[in-house]
Amino acid sequence: MPGEQPSEAEQNAVAAAALTMATTELEYRVSLLNSMVATCHDRCAARPYKEGALSVGENSCIDRCAAKYWQVVAIVGQLLGAQNK
């Protein structure tokens, strides 16, 4: 019925579901970030390691690597989404 207040139990259930979703979303982002870091380190860090700092070339390699990584995320996401429908 419109205007009616949800019970406290309902509110708690909604809050718990929201927290669970937020946690899963966060875990997903952390794991995505970790794969990006590992992949772009593999691709862009010059070996043998001469210094700890990043050179200009390494920095722009990382920027391009990240940009391409997002594009792959988008393509794969589209294809997986298409299949699920």
């Binding site: 875990e27 391409k68 792959v72």
Partner: protein, 81 residues
């Protein structure tokens, strides 16, 4: 349990992205995927989904068979009493 499924599919999503990036993206001299890289990623992803479906089918068969054998053995053990 549903939560577990969501998590598993996000994990699979991430690992598929990582795999297809590694297999398809070759040069880091441009900010945008080349046409060739883009096509490779799409095919890599499709192929992987087909492999998943086929292996999943065999997987299902195997577990079904194993459970049937276990049931038969249980029945045989009961009959032998």
């Amino acid at each position: 349990l549903e939560q577990m499924q969501v998590r598993d599919s996000l994990k699979m999503y991430n690992s598929l992205v990582e795999r297809c990036f590694k297999e398809c993206v070759e040069d880091m001299r441009s900010k945008a995927l080349t046409g060739k890289e883009e096509q490779c990623v799409a095919k890599c992803c499709e192929k992987f989904m087909h492999v998943t479906a086929r292996v999943g089918m065999r997987f299902q068969e195997f577990f079904t068979q194993m459970e049937q054998q276990a049931a038969q053995q249980a029945a045989a053990a009961q009959g032998g009493k």
